[in-house]
């Protein structure tokens, strides 16, 4: 299991992109009588991209603050709240 926090954040981005791909595929799947794809899913993808970008910014700010306090990016060292 990867314990580096940066790699964990990058894997989060991968997961969000997987959802985006599936949404765009379904948007293209059904063509309405005007000959256009269903754009609701593409609007949703637009929102997901925006929210993911904001979340990455905040997550990396937290990472930097954590690194300044603990000098480590390993999640094993940040276990103060662990049950």
């Amino acid at each position: 299991m990867r314990r580096n926090l940066i790699i964990i954040l990058m894997s989060l981005e991968l997961m969000l992109n997987a959802a985006n791909l599936s949404l765009v595929a379904f948007s293209r799947f059904r063509v309405d009588p005007n000959g256009l794809p269903n754009y609701n899913a593409q609007v949703f993808v637009f929102f997901i991209i925006t929210v993911a970008a904001a979340e990455v910014a905040v997550g990396l700010a937290i990472l930097v603050a954590l690194f300044r306090a603990r000098q480590t990016t390993d999640v094993k060292d940040i276990s103060a709240l662990k049950f």
Binding site: M1, I6, V24, S27, R28, L36, Q42, F46, T50, V58
Partner: protein, 166 residues
């Protein structure tokens, strides 16, 4: 799009996606993620989603990954030393991915409409205009809320990166 290009970009996305997780060097991981995003943008273009594909390149590969690389350089993250593979965790992760793949294959295999090619779009779609119409007519309130969300994220980032005053 011809099947050759589909398989090329799909395998590019998948292989470099796996490389993100496996690489011990964080910079190599970030660059593999950039290639993965570009492959994904090509797949979006093949699905006639031109606006979303361009936004993917601009925002994800152009802004988010640049931010990741800035942070990696700022914190000066080193190459991790080689650890032993936790076979139980690897088997668990691989097992979950395999179960998902089997479920997807079975579900789509049973779905008769998946065997045909997509119905063709009439003419050229004015992608940006239609997404703009859908966004500002039907989804105006979520759009404004997203604006507030991005503002809050900006303020939060500035607040989180303040140094303690000595």
């Amino acid at each position: 799009m011809s099947p050759f290009f589909f398989w090329l970009f799909a395998s590019l996305t998948l292989i470099f996606g796996v490389a993100v997780v496996i690489n011990r060097n964080p910079v190599a991981s970030a660059l593999s993620l950039v290639v993965s995003f570009l492959g994904l943008a090509a797949l979006f273009m093949s699905l006639d989603a031109f606006f979303v594909g361009i936004i993917q390149v601009l925002v994800y590969a152009g802004a988010v990954m640049v931010l990741f690389l800035f942070i990696i350089m700022l914190l000066n993250l080193q190459v991790e030393e080689r650890r032993g593979i936790n076979w139980l965790a690897a088997a668990g992760g691989g097992g979950v991915a395999l179960i998902l793949l089997v479920q997807i294959v079975l579900t789509i295999g049973r779905f008769e409409a998946a065997r045909r090619t997509f119905p063709p779009l009439l003419g050229s779609t004015d992608d940006v205009r239609n997404i703009g119409i859908a966004l500002f007519r039907n989804y105006n309130l979520p759009f404004q809320i997203i604006g507030v969300l991005v503002l809050v994220a900006t303020i939060g980032v500035v607040l989180l990166s303040k140094r303690e005053p000595r």
